[in-house]
Each structure stands twice: as C-alpha cells, then as structure tokens.
C-alpha cells in the first residue's frame, strides 16, 4: 500500500467527508501545523478521467467547507504516513496556504475560432492536396501552391497568437481590481490564450459577471470563463 495525497490544509481543517479515487475513503493526517487529506492506494493510480474527477471532487469538498487548500496534482504518492509527515515538514505549505487563503481560481480561455476552424480543416484533410488526376505538370504547380499555403498558415498563426495574447492581457488589466495573482500563456489547443486568475472568494461573483460582460469586447475572439476552481495554477 501507498499513500495518495489530495491536498494540504491548515491545522484546524476538518476531517474529509467525501470519497476519493475509485470511491476509496479519504482521511486526515495532522503534522507540522498542517492537515493533509490522504487516501490509501495499492500503487500509483493511472490518470483516467473518472479518477481526475474523483481527485477534483475531494479538493472541492474542502472549498465547499470554506477552506481553500493547497491542491496537489494528480498522482502524488508517498510510501507511508511517515513519508507524508516528512513531506509536510519539508515544503513550505504555510506560505502557499496564505497565498491562496479565501481565494478561488477562475480560468478564461481566449479562443480564436478562425484558427480553431483552420486547424480542424487541416486535420480533416491536407490543404489543397496535389491532385493525381490533374496530371504531372499540375501536380508540380499544386505542390508549390501547397507549400505557399503552409507558409501563409504559419504567418497567420503567429499573428493570431499575438492577437489572443493581447486580448488576454487586456482582460487581465480590465479585471485587475479582483485579481490577487495571475498566469497568462498562449494556448495551442484550443488556439488562443489561457488566463488563470486567483480571486478573493467573496469577489467571485463580481469578477465573473465582469469577465462575462467583457466577452463582447473581444470579438471575433471567444472567451470562455470557467470556475470557480481550486487554486491549482497557483501552488507548487
């Protein structure tokens, strides 16, 4: 058996009241002024979607109880409780807990529908693939056109990436009053940009309402706001 780590909470956090991976029990271990929520697993679990949801549900149950924990990513396994105590003593969880205290994470995806559509088209069939039926000469001409198209696409995608990032940064400025911390990066799939914001839980409604209002300002880009999430992007 091994010990699977879900999240780390303050010392006075309650015991978990939720089942974990594969419906297994979740228990609390207290050490170093912290509480860890753990499960016992036979070995390192494989990442499957159901288990990802189980993992997230455990962490969300802490959020629902009004505690923002330090969420651990999927798959962190330690040998036994002793190893967990050593781990809690080693990493500065107190600082991380303070950073995310009373906060939630929101995600905003800036999606570029044109880039997404082109990508989908490119994946379904190659662009203007040289036609065998057109004869030898036509194949060469089509081949050159094909290469030109590929080059155009590359140029396009650079401009698009910049446009999506500009939008992401604009959003970040527009929402800054509610944002304690941020992560902004380009996104490949979907094509666009990804924004993560750490937001005071009490301001979540105001933040979310404003973020959704802003969607219209960035057309033709699309904004998809999801959350509140546990602060996965702001720990570790």
């Amino acid at each position: 058996m091994a010990v699977y780590l879900y999240c780390v909470l303050p010392a006075d956090a309650p015991d978990p009241a939720v089942s974990g991976l594969d419906a297994a029990p979740v228990r609390a271990l207290r050490a170093s002024g912290l509480t860890a929520w753990l499960g016992d697993v036979p070995s390192t679990p494989r990442p499957e979607l159901d288990r990802i949801r189980d993992h997230d549900r455990v962490i969300r149950s802490a959020m629902a109880a009004g505690i923002t924990p330090v969420p651990i990513r999927f798959g962190q396994v330690l040998a036994d409780d002793e190893a967990v105590r050593a781990h809690l003593a080693q990493r500065d969880y107190a600082r991380e807990l303070a950073h995310v205290a009373d906060a939630v994470e929101f995600a905003i995806r800036v999606i570029d529908p044109e880039a997404v559509a082109e990508e989908a088209g490119a994946r379904a069939k190659p662009p203007d693939a040289p036609s065998v039926a057109a004869g030898t000469g036509a194949v060469a001409a089509d081949g050159a056109a094909y290469m030109r198209l590929l080059a155009e696409r590359m140029h396009h995608s650079e401009g698009r990436r910049a446009r999506a990032l500009d939008a992401a940064n604009g959003l970040d400025r527009a929402l800054a009053q509610w944002v304690r911390d941020r992560r902004i990066e380009p996104s490949e799939r979907p094509a666009g940009a990804a924004v993560a914001h750490l937001v005071q839980a009490s301001a979540a409604h105001a933040y979310e309402a404003r973020a959704k209002e802003l969607s219209d300002d960035y057309r033709p880009l699309r904004l998809v706001v999801t959350g509140p999430w546990p602060p996965y992007s702001f720990v570790g």
Binding site: T44, P47, F74, P113, A124, R222, T226, W229
Partner: protein
C-alpha cells in the same frame, strides 16, 4: 483551401456544449501536471459549428508523478471508453 464546414467529418467522440467542453479541458489541464495529457478528442461547438480541436497527444514530461509510463493506458475523455488513435 478547405472550408471549415466541409472539412469536418463526423466524429464519434464526445460532443459537448462549449462551456462543458472547456470546463473539461480546464479540469484535465489543472488536475494533471503540465505535460501529462490524456488521449482523446473533445468536440467544441463555437457559434453553432462543431469543431474538433482537442486531439490531445500523449505527452509525458513529468514521469515522476505518474511513476511508470507504461501504465498510461489512458482511456481518455471519450464517454464509453472508446479510444481513438
């Protein structure tokens, strides 16, 4: 150049409304370490057009958290365990 509309062939994978698609992607991105990605495809609907964009590759940059790569028989995000590719 292929039109976005005609380029899309019927796919058997999960098709979800935009918010649910995106929430699923954000969930997987967050709960899994960066670089660890599940296989599968999600269809996202933008402006009423279904667009397949999430043909996630199996990338493993953080082996430590998963211990053994051969264990990554990811059945993916497809609803009934159907995996593609």
């Amino acid at each position: 150049m292929a039109e976005p509309g005609d380029a899309l062939e019927p796919h058997e994978e999960w098709s979800l409304p935009e918010y649910e698609s995106m929430a699923l992607i954000e969930l997987v991105n967050r709960v899994l370490d960066k670089g660890v990605v599940i296989t599968g495809e999600v269809t996202i609907s933008i402006g009423g057009v279904d667009l397949v964009f999430l043909g996630l590759q199996l990338i493993l940059s953080s082996v430590q958290t998963l211990e053994r790569a051969e264990g990554l028989n990811l059945r993916g995000i497809t609803p009934h365990g159907r995996s593609r590719r």
